[in-house]
């Protein structure tokens, strides 16, 4: 494909797109940093040095570190099952995997309260066992896992369906067992897609607000994640604090995004090779 010279109409469209992008994405992001540094670097650093802010960062990283691997394994297993096998209920499973995308995150949080809360279905049982799920790190993890469940599976299902089962069948006729086939043939063929899905899942796990807000109870230093902490500070009119913590969140997102772009770039080359294949 050769690049065509830009027509006036095309230029206008590009300008409109850039303007919209600037207004909707770049400007708000810049505002975050601007507000955070409004009272100078000293105030910014003081706000970040706050122990509660550190606790929120630790919790956010912990939740991501638990829910992302869980959903990576689940997504891989689900995509493998759906893409490589025919079985009754297959389309139902696909729909179930999509469900967390289509329900509101608040509901995704609320279901755990209804299930494990003091007046929930399993509440009395949990109390007897001495396990607290709601207003606890466990609840935060559960809510995050539910909300981020589809990312890896959604990324892998089309990729695995497109690749089919020819290579796996060839591996079996060559004497490979099921695990060998999975780790030496199936997994290497989807590794870039898997990484991409994991990054998307991670971004959402760290940034999730709605579901986590319902189950966390907003206990400072204990069950507050970064997004919740930003809200609390903002509601207390601590704007520098709120935006300073927000820059940390934005920083995490930007790192994830940079990784994603780098992967996408490599992934594109691989996909092209696969298509030629």
């Amino acid at each position: 494909m050769t690049l065509r010279s830009l027509t006036p109409g095309g230029a206008a469209l590009i300008l409109a797109a850039l303007t919209a992008l600037g207004l909707l994405v770049v400007l708000p992001l810049a505002m975050v940093f601007h507000e955070a540094f409004r009272q100078g670097l000293g105030a910014y650093l003081t706000a970040l040095a706050e122990p509660d802010a550190w606790a929120a960062l630790r919790l956010t990283l912990l939740v991501a570190a638990i829910s992302v691997p869980l959903n990576a394994v689940f997504g891989l297993a689900a995509a493998w099952t759906i893409a490589k096998f025919e079985f009754p209920g297959r389309s139902l499973l696909v729909t179930l995997i999509d469900l967390p995308f289509s329900i509101s995150p608040v509901v995704s949080g609320l279901v755990w309260v209804l299930l494990f809360g003091a007046h929930g279905w399993l509440g009395p049982l949990m109390q007897e066992l001495g396990v607290q799920v709601i207003f606890n790190v466990t609840g935060v993890v559960l809510a995050t896992v539910l909300v981020t469940l589809p990312f890896v599976a959604r990324e892998l299902i089309p990729l695995m369906e497109q690749q089919g089962t020819d290579e796996e069948i060839a591996a079996i006729t060559l004497g490979a067992g099921p695990w060998t086939t999975f780790f030496r043939v199936t997994l290497p063929n989807v590794k870039w897609g898997l990484l991409y899905g994991v990054l998307l899942c991670n971004a959402r796990a760290m940034g999730e607000f709605g579901a986590v807000s319902v189950v966390s109870g907003h206990i400072r230093g204990l069950t507050n994640t970064l997004p919740l902490h930003v809200e609390i500070l903002y509601n207390e009119y601590d704007f520098v604090g709120a935006f300073a913590v927000a820059t940390v969140l934005a920083g995490l997102a930007l790192v994830t995004l940079a990784l994603k772009s780098a992967l996408e770039w490599r992934h594109a080359g691989e996909l092209a090779a696969v298509r030629r294949h």
Binding site: E167, I169, A170, G175, R276, H277
Partner: protein, 341 residues
């Protein structure tokens, strides 16, 4: 007979893919499974490979019950139509795969694996390409890698599923001769699935013709061509004329032409077949099947004509003399093949 297939049946839902197929192959034999698409030939191959479990029947190889073993234990090399090479592995890694996944006790030493990969690359004439990836090879090269990969496990039998189906005509012809040569060198019992009758007749020691999940005939290419077991086989393996006819009192009548029926032909409605190259074209005054010439194209020493016989159109070779479009002629076949309807 090392390979004995007995009464294999397989259905997928309502579709009967195989309906009681029995077949045998000698050690080192090159057997082609030939049939139109949907005739069950690929299903039969997948049953042999262990990729499909038949509903009934038995398969043994060298006295061993193959159906009792799963695919990975059968040591049967398989080559697929769309190559099925591991796309993230180099050519050498692809070929070595079957050796490297063996349990530690049975696995050759890395240096031995390397040596064997080199030998196989040489056998399939791809020396020096071991470091390439499948995406960097042509279709013909990929299929040769796939064959080398299948041979690497020192298979007891080689199965090929339309191996040249995705290649263009020229490459197909080259690879065909080369495959036969590899077969003769390795001495492996080879089963080859194709829907291309020319490929099957060219390549195989014997051809098994399948139709709707049943075997129509298993025979040498010569016998298949000259003594087809059914009207279907006749029509599938070459050009010819096929017309409805009738045998009464030892006389065959077809499209208004009467001739003595071959001895022992039972009376009744029949299908009459003959090869167009074994029929003489005579003037309209002679005895034979009435034919009217529609078009002709001259090519070298003979012409190809399309003509109408008994309301059907056929293409055949004809001498240059006596023909022009619209001319009435008589066709006198040297031998007719008669199958009951």
């Amino acid at each position: 007979m090392p390979l004995i297939v007995e009464d294999i049946a397989k259905r997928f839902g309502d579709h009967v893919a195989l309906d009681g197929v029995s077949l045998q192959a000698r050690q080192g034999e090159f057997l082609a499974l030939l049939g139109p698409s949907g005739s069950g030939k690929t299903t039969l191959l997948r049953v042999l490979a262990g990729l499909e479990r038949p509903d009934r029947g038995a398969v043994s190889f060298g006295g061993e019950d193959l159906l009792a073993m799963d695919a990975r234990a059968r040591r049967i090399g398989m080559v697929f139509q769309h190559y099925a090479l591991f796309r993230h592995m180099s050519v050498a890694q692809n070929i070595a795969f079957g050796l490297e996944v063996r349990p530690a006790k049975a696995r050759p030493k890395p240096s031995e694996i390397r040596k064997r990969v080199e030998r196989l690359l040489e056998l399939v004439q791809l020396q020096g390409l071991g470091g390439r990836y499948p995406a960097q090879l042509s279709g013909g090269q990929r299929q040769r890698v796939a064959l080398a990969r299948a041979l690497a496990i020192e298979p007891r039998m080689l199965l090929l599923d339309e191996p040249f189906g995705a290649l263009d005509a020229r490459v197909r012809r080259d690879l065909r001769a080369w495959l036969r040569q590899i077969h003769d060198e390795t001495g492996l019992t080879t089963i080859f699935v194709t829907h291309d009758q020319e490929e099957a007749m060219d390549l195989a020691d014997r051809v098994a013709i399948l139709r709707d999940g049943r075997l129509e005939q298993v025979d040498t290419p010569e016998r298949i061509y000259e003594a087809p077991a059914s009207a279907f086989v006749f029509g599938f393996v070459g050009e010819g004329v096929q017309l409805p006819g009738e045998v009464t009192d030892g006389v065959l009548s077809v499209a208004g032409w009467r001739s003595p029926a071959p001895a022992g032909t039972p009376p009744g409605a029949v299908t009459v077949s003959f090869r167009t190259e074994s029929a003489d074209m005579l003037p309209a005054t002679a005895d034979g099947l009435a034919a009217r010439i529609l078009t002709l194209s001259r090519r070298g020493g003979s012409s190809r004509v399309t003509c109408e016989i008994g309301g059907q159109t056929f293409t055949l070779q004809a001498p240059k003399s006596l023909i022009a479009p619209g001319v009435e002629v008589r066709l006198a076949p040297h031998a007719v093949i008669i199958h009951p309807k």
